[in-house]
Structure formats: C-alpha cells, structure tokens
C-alpha cells in the first residue's frame, strides 16, 4: 500500500515525516505529494473518474448521496472533487475511512461492492486517504508566522488559525492539502480554504450542533419527545407509524421524532449549505422536510420507505398547503420550545424573539422594581409605566404569534386580546390584510432592522469563541469595561453593516470572526487594558467538540466498548459542562474537580487504547507513532544511550505535539525535553518495577490488543499486543496521557 509514497520518497532522496521545526534551514518534505497531482494523475483516471462518476454525478443514481462529483468538463471541477474526496477520506467509521468503506461495501453502498478489499483500487484509495490525513507530509513552501493585529495583539499564524477553525467549524484536523496551501499562500489562501471548508458536510453538521445552543430544539430528541409535541388536531397523521409493522414501528417513531425536533436546525443548515441569505431563518416561505416529517404532516405521497432508505433522509424544501411559513418561527419544534399559555399570551415567545433576532433582552428593562400591590391601573401591563416599560415592546410582537397555538399549530382567524396592545412591530400595527400571516409580516420587517444584523454577528461570535459578547446590561461602570464594550460594539457595527451589504451572508461573518482577534489572538504585544479584557479567552471545549477532537487526532473515538456510545456525548456530557437543551441551557466554561476527573479518565483510557493499536500498525499507517517503535528505548538495557534512537523518539514527540496540540516545536525545544524526560522516567521506573517483580510484564487487560477494536474480530496470535516486557508501551501511554490532558488539547 505504501509503495507509491515510498517510491516518491526514494526518488526525492528523503524520508517522510514532520519537519523539524525549522523549515527554512532544513526543509524536510520528502514524501510531499500534492494531493491534486495524485488525484489528477492516478486516482481520477484509474478509479474515480472511470468508475465512481458514473453514478455519483448530479443526474446519476447517487445524486442524493453526500458524494456528488463534477465531470472534468465543468470549470473548477477537480478542485471541488478534491475537496469532497478529502472530506470523505477524513470521515471515519470503525477506524476506517469512508472513502474505502463505501466502495468496498463494508458500510452499505447503493452500488454494492465496486472495489475489492486489498485490490489495487483499494490501494489507490488508501494512498489518497494517507495524503489527506497526514498534514506533515506536505508542509509546502512559505512562511507561516504569527501576525500583528494592529491592536497590540499577536494573532495566530494562518496554519494555526486553520487548525483551530477546522476543529471548531468542522470537527476535524485540516487535510494535508489544506495545510500545505495555507502555509504556502498565507492569509489569502486561509480565507479560500475556510470557504471550501464551509461548503463541506462536516461544517453543515457542525452548524447544527452549534446552532442548537441558540434554538435549543434538540430538547425534543430525548425519548422521542418530538412526536408528542405535534398538535394532532392539525396533523392527524402525526402518529402514522402506529399503523406500520411492529418490527419497524419504534424505528419509525424515532425517525419521525428526530425529524420533528430537527426541523428548525435543518432549515438553518439548508440556508448555509445553499448559501442563502441568513435572513431566511425568519423569512423562508417554505419548510424543510424529509420523508418522515412529510408523513407526520400528512403530505407524503407514495409508499412508506424502509427505515434505512437514504432517500427518505433527504431534506428538501416543501410548502405546506395553506400555511404561512416564516422560517424557523413557524416550525413546530420552535413554537413548542418557546410555548404560549393563556395568561402568558405569547410574551415568552416575544422575549425570545427580541433576544435572539433583535439583540434586545427585554428582561433587562425589568431590572427596575415593580410593585404588584400598588398599581392604580386596571390593566397594569398596558397602563402602568412600571410594567409597560417592558410590555410596550413585548406585547405587540407577542400578538404577532396570534396564529400559532401552544403546540405550534396554525390557527387562521384567531382573535387577539383586546386588553393588550394591538399586534405590530416597530410602531406599525399589523395591517388587517396580514392578520392571518402575522409572522411572515414580522419576519419581513425584522430582517430590515439593523438590530437583526447585530444579533446575527453576536450569535456567531458566541458560537465560535464560546464567550457571550458584552452588553450594557452585563458590564459594570468600570471605565475599562465601558471602553471594552465600546471597542467590541464598534467592531460589531462594522461587520453588521457589511453583513447587510453582503445580503446577510452568514459565512462571511464566520470568516470575519475567525480572522479576528476575538478568535485568534495568542499574545499581548502592548494592547490596551480594555482590548485585553475581552481577548484571548480560551474556553474549555464542549463535550461534543472534545469528542470530535479525540476522533480527529487519535483516529478513534472515546466510546463505551460495549455500546459504542460516546462517553462525552452520551454519559458525561452534562458533568463536563454540556447542555440538555431543556433545564440546563448554559455551558460551563470553567473546569472543576469533576471535569478534571473526566479529562484524566479520557486521557488514560484513550492512551491505553490508542497506543497499542497504533504501535501495532505498520509505520506508514500510524497516526501517533510514525517514527518510534516499541524497541526504541531511551536508555538501553546496558544503561547507555543511542543517539539515533533518541533522535527518533524526539522526532516522534515532536510529531505528537503537532498532531495532538497543534504545537510546531523544534526537536530540542524545552517542551520536547520535558516530554522526553517523562518518557524516560516512566520507562526507567516501569522497567525497574518489572524487573523487581513489582509490576507485571503484561499490559493491563483493557490495553491489550487481542482483537480488531473496530470489528471485534480476533487477531492472529502474531498480531496481538499483550506483553510489554520492556515497559515501552506503558511509557508511551504515560506520555500520550500527559498530552491528552494538556491545556492545548482540552481548550481551543
């Protein structure tokens, strides 16, 4: 499998590996092969263009899949194809890339097996996967240096920014191609690559996760709650699955519940995926639905698909008959999540609407004392100045939700209360002609309001930096804080204005935040106290993001071995600061003894699993140990040291710092020295313990490699890893544990 890479390496007279931290003096890009060259020269003509393209094109039978290729006659086709191939190459299941799993039909492939495992075609794909997953192989030319922000702050280099953005926006490491291009092209290419990343499926999926922090509609994923929030009077087909075969019924229920719960987030994803104006989040005159949602809403024509039919999972725009859509506002999940009561009269919905889409927290007006016992007014919310300070703003918009009941069902001709302010927005009453379409009327006016632009920019800032932007309600009178607020608001105002000029292109806002000091400041170089107040706040990764980072860096997730459910996503999420979208809606930003126990448990467990597995692989397949072997002891049994061995170990430590922490260090960096000292210490201590009988020469049970971790298939005896006579594996496990608990791993 490695023949092609090796051949290139030999021709170039060098060996593969990460550079030594000083490219200019000692360029070491021995096996650097441009993935584009590889695609054009080998992969396309020998496999993808001749076999895959037949179905995976825009008109082909696989047009609904995530893998749609462009024919070479289309301008820019190969760049697009390279991007989608790279993304698939990095997507893994059971430790293998989808780019191999699909055509070999290891995971169900609509076209059946097109590539035989172990065949020359499989090798071709594996070569490409290796290229896509080894950013060190193609360091490229050019300098990658930290830059000056102009605010007295040092910003992360383009490559470092790319790594952080890739993990935050796509839950993966940059591909070798991406990193190589950014290293060579600097800031301009960083922007190009960001946009390419934002056109991928990983970004689309990540935005669903991030935006749930705003909408909180994933609350209805739990226990299939989604199916129980639909008004059966309006949607009598909501429980359509009850009529299906008992063997499929519960699967159908789950699929339907997920579809109902996810409708708002899928709309948001659709807007971003299709490069629509973000204003459509309110103004979309359609809804997004997959087959399961259509069945629940009674608008599906045709037979009921099988539960695993991929076509049934495809979300598309539909128009419910006689239903005035207003983006997310008229989705059932949204309307349930922000419910109405007879006495609340949609005020909760109004409060959320203002807070989320108009950058206005009406409740901050409520900071003034109110006296329920001493109002001379019959209708205080309408007439008492202490009350109507909020209600003058809140109640007209509350009235605009008049057509939707608590369960989110549409009620045309619904009468509104005559003891409240009349429905309206911005001082304009709802016209009679729009009485049945109050929310589309509101949406159209809201997106014309500059506060919508500001709210959108602030939303992106919070989602990408983890930090709530300052507001007048939350800052003290301290002059530094006031100046920090003014600086922040000036930046936001500029971005918001251009956001509008760019037709509400949210991806552009994401780009601006990623490029800004809010996202990438790494050092103070004379910034003002006010600037520093809000800059460089490194936030503990959310459980979901840490889960993804573990998979991206180690090549395997942290999951329960039996159930394969993620520890951070299914078990420890709330304790690690996550949310349940129900009662716990704020993420924790500070670590405690509990989060530290989880982090240490993760690091210990993952080092135990990943180190033996990686060392067991052939060198070119390793993600953690491309240079060191189990035989490379820092101190030989006779007590002497071997320079070559030490160099290999140092090189591997250098690689681990780059891979796991994103730190590009020279081999003689003090941090490499410290890690080397820990390795040597663990090795020496452990070996003495083994020799004295205080420790066993057998690996702890959970760390032993007796079977393929992914498939559960027993390994041949000669491939098992059970013994650790020289304590080499456990010493490396100690070092990997050390790195996985590092600040740079747990934070971004």
């Amino acid at each position: 499998m490695r023949s092609w890479l090796l051949a290139i390496s030999v021709l170039m007279g060098c060996t593969p590996g990460p550079h030594n931290g000083d490219l200019a003096q000692n360029p070491d890009k021995g096996s650097c092969v441009d993935p584009m060259d590889y695609l054009q020269d080998r992969l396309w003509p020998e496999l993808v263009g001749t076999t895959c393209l037949a179905c995976h094109n825009q008109e082909g039978s696989a047009r609904h899949s995530q893998f749609v290729l462009q024919p070479t006659s289309v301008p820019g086709a190969m760049e697009a194809n390279l991007q989608i191939l790279s993304t698939l190459a990095q997507k893994e299941q059971d430790g293998s890339s989808w780019l191999l799993l699909k055509p070999t039909n290891t995971v169900p492939h609509g076209g059946g097996q097109m590539v035989a495992p172990g065949s020359a075609e499989a090798e071709l794909l594996q070569e490409f996967i290796t290229l896509a997953n080894r950013p060190d192989l193609c360091q490229g030319e050019g300098e990658d240096e930290a830059t000056d922000s102009g605010l007295g702050l040092t910003l992360a280099s383009p490559v470092s920014t790319l790594r952080k953005a890739s993990l935050v926006l796509a839950g993966r490491l940059p591909t070798s191609m991406e990193e190589s291009r950014v290293r060579a092209g600097g800031e301009d290419v960083l922007i190009q690559v960001l946009w390419e990343m934002m056109s991928g499926e990983a970004f689309a999926d990540r935005m669903v996760l991030l935006l749930n922090d705003v909408f909180l509609t994933d609350r209805y994923l739990e226990n299939n709650l989604g199916v129980f929030i639909v008004d059966q009077g309006r949607y009598p087909s909501a429980f359509w699955y009850e009529q299906t075969d008992p063997s499929d019924k519960w699967t159908y229920q789950t699929l339907t519940a997920e579809a109902i719960a996810r409708e708002p987030l899928m709309l948001a994803q659709h807007i971003l995926r299709e490069d629509r104006p973000w204003s459509e989040i309110l103004t979309a005159d359609y809804m997004l639905a997959n087959t399961w949602l259509k069945l629940a809403y009674g608008v599906h024509d045709g037979p009921i698909p099988a539960p695993d039919d991929p076509a049934a999972q495809v979300w598309e725009e539909i128009d419910l008959p006689d239903y005035p859509h207003a983006g997310v506002l008229t989705t059932v999940a949204f309307l349930n999540r922000y419910p109405n009561t007879d006495t609340n009269r949609n005020r909760h919905r109004s409060w959320y609407f203002y807070k989320t889409f108009l950058d206005t927290d009406i409740m901050t007006f409520a900071d003034r004392p109110v006296d329920s016992t001493d109002t001379p007014f019959d209708n205080p919310t309408l007439n008492d100045p202490n009350c109507n300070v909020c209600h003058t703003t809140m109640d007209p918009v509350a009235g605009l939700f008049q057509n939707w009941n608590t369960l989110g069902a549409y009620r045309p001709d619904a009468a509104w209360y005559d003891d409240m302010l009349v429905p309206g927005f911005g001082g304009v009453d709802l016209p009679d002609a729009a009485q049945d379409e109050a929310l589309p009327w509101l949406a159209a006016r809201t997106v014309e309001d500059p506060r919508f632009d500001v709210a959108s920019v602030k939303m992106v800032m919070k989602l990408l930096t983890g930090q709530e932007p300052l507001s007048q309600a939350t800052v003290t009178d301290d002059p530094v804080m006031q100046k920090a607020l003014a600086e922040q608001d000036a930046w936001i105002a500029d971005i918001a204005a251009e956001f509008r000029e760019r037709n509400h292109d949210l991806k552009w806002v994401i780009e601006q935040v990623v490029l800004s000091h809010w996202f990438r400041a790494i050092a103070d170089d004379g910034a003002s106290e006010a600037t520093l107040e809000r800059t460089g706040a490194a936030i503990m990764l959310s459980p979901e993001m840490l889960h993804d980072k573990i998979s991206a860096t180690l090549g395997m997730p942290w999951v329960n071995e039996a159930s394969r459910q993620g520890y951070l996503t299914e078990f420890y999420g709330l304790m690690y600061g996550g949310i349940d979208s129900n009662t716990i809606t704020e993420r924790l930003s500070e670590p405690s003894g509990v989060t530290e126990s989880i982090a240490l448990s993760m690091a210990t467990d993952m080092a135990c699993r990943a180190v033996p597995i990686d060392l067991h692989k052939s060198t070119d397949d390793r993600v953690l140990f491309p240079y060191a072997t189990m035989a490379d002891a820092p101190i030989l049994r006779d007590g002497t040291r071997d320079e070559q061995t030490e160099a290999a170990i140092r090189r591997n430590l250098q690689w681990l710092f780059l891979r796991l922490l994103g730190e590009d260090l020279p081999v003689d960096d003090p941090e490499i020295d410290a890690a080397y000292a820990l390795l040597e210490d663990a090795w020496t201590t452990g070996r003495l313990a083994v020799n004295s009988g205080d420790a066993t020469s057998i690996l702890p049970g959970p760390c032993q490699l007796r079977e393929d971790w992914w498939t559960g298939e027993p390994l041949p005896d000669d491939q098992m890893v059970i013994r650790d006579d020289d304590f080499a594996i456990r010493a490396w496990m100690t070092v990997v544990t050390y790195l996985l608990t590092d600040y740079r791993f747990l934070y971004e």
């Binding site: 109110v370 006296d371 103070d524 170089d525 078990f571 405690s592 509990v594 410290a674 608990t741 600040y743």
Partner: protein, 415 residues
Amino acid sequence: MDRRRFLKGLGVTALALPTLLKQTRAHALVSGDETLVVTLHADGGWDPAFLCDPKGYVGDGSDRITDFHEDDIVSVGAFDLAPNRALMDFFSDYSRELLVINGVDNQSNSHLAGVRNQWSGKLNHGHPSIGALAAAHTRNAPTTAFMSFGGYDNTAGLLPITRLPSPGFVSELAHPYRRHTPDPDSDLVPSSIQERLQMAQAARLERQIAAATLPNQRRAMQQLLDARLGDNEMALLAPFLPSQFEATPLKQQIQIALAAFQAGITSSVSLTSGGFDTHKAHDTKHPVALTNLFEGALFLMQQAEKMGLADRILLLIGSDFGRTPWYNEHDGKDHYSITSMMMMGPGIDGGRVIGSTDDSLVPDLLDPDTLEPSDDGIRITPAHIHATLREHLGVDTPEVAGTWPLQGDALSLMA
C-alpha cells in the same frame, strides 16, 4: 482558594511540586466546622397564601383567594400554615428551627429578574447567588465547592459550577486511572508513575502560565491548574454515596449533595423543585408542587440528621415571587411581587415569623430595628435579606460589597 495565589507566588518548579501537591491536597477540603449552604428554589413562583402566609376564606368563599376555609388553617408552633400534609410535616419537625419572613417585596413579576433578586439580592444581571458567594469564601474550598442542580447559580466568575446530575458515574470517575473497576491493581497508569505524571502535567501548566501574556488565557490556564491540583474529589465522594438512591430527582440530588458535603468537597448546593407556575388550575397543581418541595426539604433535614450533619446545614427556601391574591379566568394565579422566604440553620433563632400581609397580600410595613409593624416602617426586600445573610455568613467583605453592592442594609433577622 488561597493555594492558587500561594502556588503562583512561588513560581512553582517541577522539583518543588511533589511536596506542594501533598500540601495542597491536605488542605483543599471543606473543614469539619463549615456549614453547608443549601438554597432550595421553588421554581415558577410559589403562593404564600397556600403556604406560610395562609389566607383562608370566610363565609361562602365567593371572594376567596385560596381553596381552604380560615378554620382549616393549621397552627404549628409559631406558624400558621395552609392545610398541606407535607408542609405540616416539615414544620412540625422543625418549627423551633425555622424562621419565616412573610411579606417580602421581591420587586418583580418577571421570572428571570425575580429569581435573580431572590437569590442574589439584586434585580440586575451578573450578581453571584448567595450560595456561590458562600462557597467562594469557604476556607480552602476545593473547585467542587459549589454544586448546582439548577436554580439561580450565577457565580460571577468566582468559582466553577459543579454538576453531578446522576450518581451513577461517580464511582467510574473516582478512579480515573482505571477502567470501571474497583481493583487497585488494575490502574492503566501504574501508581508508581502517576505522581510523576501529575508533576509533569502541573509543571507544564506552570510553564504555559508563565509564558502566556493574554490575561484571559492565563486565567483559564490557572483555573485548569486549580482543578488539577485539587484532590481527586470523585474518589473522596464515592465512599460517602449511599448504596440506594431515592426515586425522585430532588431526593437523589439531596443525597449527592449531603454525601459531597460529608466528603468535604462541597460547601454549597443549589437545588430546585418545579411546578409552581400555576397560571391554570392553581388549586389542583400548586399543592402538588408544594408537597414535592416540602417532602424534599424534610428528606434533606432527616438525612442530614442521620448523617450527623443537621446542625451544619443552612437551608434557604424561596421562589421567583408570589402569586396574585385573586384567580384568573382559568382558575389559575398569575405573578405577584410579594412573597415569603424561609431559612433555618446555625445562628438562626428559629420558631419565629417576621413580617405579615393583609388579606390582599399587601405587606405590613416594619420598623427596621424592631421588625414590628410600623406605619412609617419599611418593606423587607431581598436586598435586606441578602445583606443580612452576607453578614451572617461572613462574606460581607468590602470587596464583595464594592463589587456587588446591595440596596438595603442588614436587619436583625437572625436573632
């Protein structure tokens, strides 16, 4: 938290760490003379007329504001109570310890502002809850000192929030070097190497802190170091967890909180019990919420007694606000700014009711010195109560008062 500054000031090196690790661990625990501050929040806004400021109807009840006759009001010690079994059970057992403050003007009908005022003494954003303030000022508080199961748990950055929603994972996490086994010989990192690893981790973080120039980054690193240098709180907690857990979430949370206090890892806990926002069918729904709340409060104190901790529990019970002295058209009750609050614990002279309201739940004014009704007196607000609580808990430092000032002075509520 002094150890943070201690370590930082020393400029800790790898060589110094082993000793320091042991020293910090020996002290990073809530000591045996500390109090557990429990804030129990009745979520949604309770109705004092159905509780400790009962308003039974007379005659045919045509203008009633509760569903019980005034003859049904129950006297327990110094208290008049609405006829609710769980409420009476709790008050019967703790009538000598409980202090009730009626006619508290919570100054808001808004859930968010009302909850903030109730538990921080301020209507505004950003002020720490009394529980967080207490935890942050606990001597040698570990990073798990403030545990929250919901309610108003703003810490204003004083310390982390610890969430332990389920007891099921504690034993797993108690031994992070093992994989779900109690066997001490099955550590994945041998015990002989664990301390070396910890030294290396701490030394690396110290180097990172020293090199960081952005204050926020340095602060985040310092927080991680604090959490790391603490003891293994989950291991400390595990032996104290009961073998059997109660069925209801509130009682489970109480069991975890008491075990955490006994283990010395927690000194303040925020609990919440919901169901009080009864805009419809008030008479049916509100008693159920009250029953759940006071069964929980009784369980807390009974468990604490069994564990020998009862005299170290400071229990504060409150809600978003009160409910209207009238019914709406859906037989529900809406928000009303007048409420009640209860407390018991060390230093609180119980068996007393302070404050009163008329039949329409309008507070009687009180003389701020005698706390007796006075026409030119004041209304008690959360600010007064929190100023008093801060003083009582010893957290009324100039720094706290300067950063989070209250618009009310401490009153002689406690004795």
